[in-house]
Amino acid sequence: MIITGVGAGAFAASQALLSDQAVLAANTFSTGTSDLLIATNPVSDYASSKAGFTNNAMLPGQTSAYAFRLKNNSDAVDFSIQGQATINGTNTLPADKIFVTITPLDSSSNPMGTPVTHPLNEWTSVQSLGDLVVDNGDIQRYKMEVMVDPSITESSVSVNFDFVFTGTQVLPSVTPSLSPSVTAQP
């Protein structure tokens, strides 16, 4: 009976390996603290919040660029980055006529990765800044370009907004310790 029981259990386990889909691997545990910082000018002064840019003489069709840096000051935590805008007060400059492009830059300030462009009204929803992962301890440069649609004809219209960058932990991939490797069972 015991042999039968063990045999039946082993058979069930084999079925689990061959036909079922289960994670037969050690879970990866991640401990640490999260801390994301931003710097504009000077680039050595990092904080959790910085004053943004001001342009009181923007022209329709004009593009202005602003540089900033994100620093992953976490302990053993890697980040993916998302961005979101919050419009302050009532904007007389339509948010769908302002286009904001965020481009990651390399250490030589050359564009790297894929720029992310949305009209400002779409940036009020959280938008991913791509697959770029900022490892713990790293600094990532970015360029924010703001373009006003050439169709704007009114003078003195304006918009004021905050731009929030969120770093969300990216866990390392699980390395299966058994073979054949299988996927997780939903």
């Binding site: 069930a12 001001t54 022209l59 703001v146 006003v148």
Partner: protein, 299 residues
């Protein structure tokens, strides 16, 4: 008394086995997850085993801890606390936040993404189950006990055949049941749930205002435009009539007859310089900077 104790132990082992089986097969809406990161500390520690029970989204309240499928590309299973909820048209959505995070999660969780409400958690138990999935864990918890059972049973069979040996069954049953529990622990494969850490930074008060056109221009016209005039006609009269020629001078400069140079003083790096050019002629503007010029053509 011995039989009573044996009965209690057997029942306990059966109950534990049933619980483990239920959790691995989501019987009755119960599921267990291993917490793999620390955004819910100190409430739920990394490596804890959380027990979730399915709860209808309409019954969930703010501050409940839930396990859900995050609406991101990777669709990870996450365990966080409800920080806010919205109920509209019988649909409930949730904003969540890890206790160890300073900010809410960026996503909005739909009611259909909720797996269950966390009922309780057992610290560090997740490490044990995770160990049971490693090669060493399987060797110690499954293979070696299985080999022991097989060898012991073969030995008993041989002894029984040879000597009609009767061995105490009580001891063997308890050991066997215990090993069966260990084996089922290996079969029990709780999924990992992520308690994702996050942080945010902000650029505040970004301001854009469309310009009022009021240029400051220093104009240096060069050269002086002289309208052309036809030459004074000369006439030889012969013999008698007197003719007075009519001059039709050109008083307006023609387009292209001269150049106007406009100097704009730069106000420093990052400044915006405004030039307003009103002309009925074609206008060519040479620039040596990277500023984009808004130009309305009038010709």
């Amino acid at each position: 008394m011995k039989n009573f104790l044996r009965g209690v132990i057997v029942c306990f082992i059966l109950i534990v086995g049933f619980i483990i089986f239920s959790l691995s097969h989501q019987i009755g809406g119960w599921r267990a997850f291993i917490v793999s990161s620390g955004s819910m500390e100190p409430t739920i520690s990394t490596g804890a085993l959380v027990i979730s029970h399915y709860t209808h989204p309409s019954s969930l309240q703010k501050n409940d801890i839930i396990t859900f499928i995050a609406p991101t590309k990777e669709k990870p299973i996450v365990t966080h606390r409800i920080s806010n909820l919205s109920r509209k048209n019988q649909l409930t959505t949730f904003k969540t936040k890890g206790d160890n995070n300073n900010n809410e999660d960026t996503w909005v969780v739909a009611g259909g993404g909720v797996i269950g409400k966390v009922t309780f958690s057992i610290p560090y138990l997740g490490y044990f189950f995770s160990f049971s999935q490693t090669k060493l864990g399987i060797l110690l918890l499954v293979l070696l006990p299985a080999v022991y059972i097989i060898i012991d049973e073969i030995s008993n069979i041989v002894k029984t055949i040879k000597h009609h040996h009767k061995k105490s069954k009580e001891h063997k049953e308890i050991i066997t049941a215990g090993i069966a529990i260990l084996f089922s622990l290996w079969l029990f494969t709780p999924q990992s749930t992520q308690a994702l850490l996050s942080d945010k930074v902000s650029l505040t008060n970004n301001s854009i205002t469309i310009a009022i056109v009021s240029p400051t221009i220093t104009q240096t016209p060069s050269p002086t435009i002289t309208p052309s005039q036809p030459p004074t006609p000369t006439q030889t009269l012969s013999p008698t009539p007197t003719v007075t020629p009519t001059l039709t001078p050109t008083t307006q400069p023609s387009c292209g007859g001269g150049n106007i140079t406009i100097n704009v003083n730069n106000n420093g790096g990052g400044s915006t310089n405004i030039v307003n050019v009103t002309s009925n002629c074609s206008t060519k503007i040479n620039q040596n900077n990277t500023t984009i010029i808004y130009n309305t053509l009038h010709n």
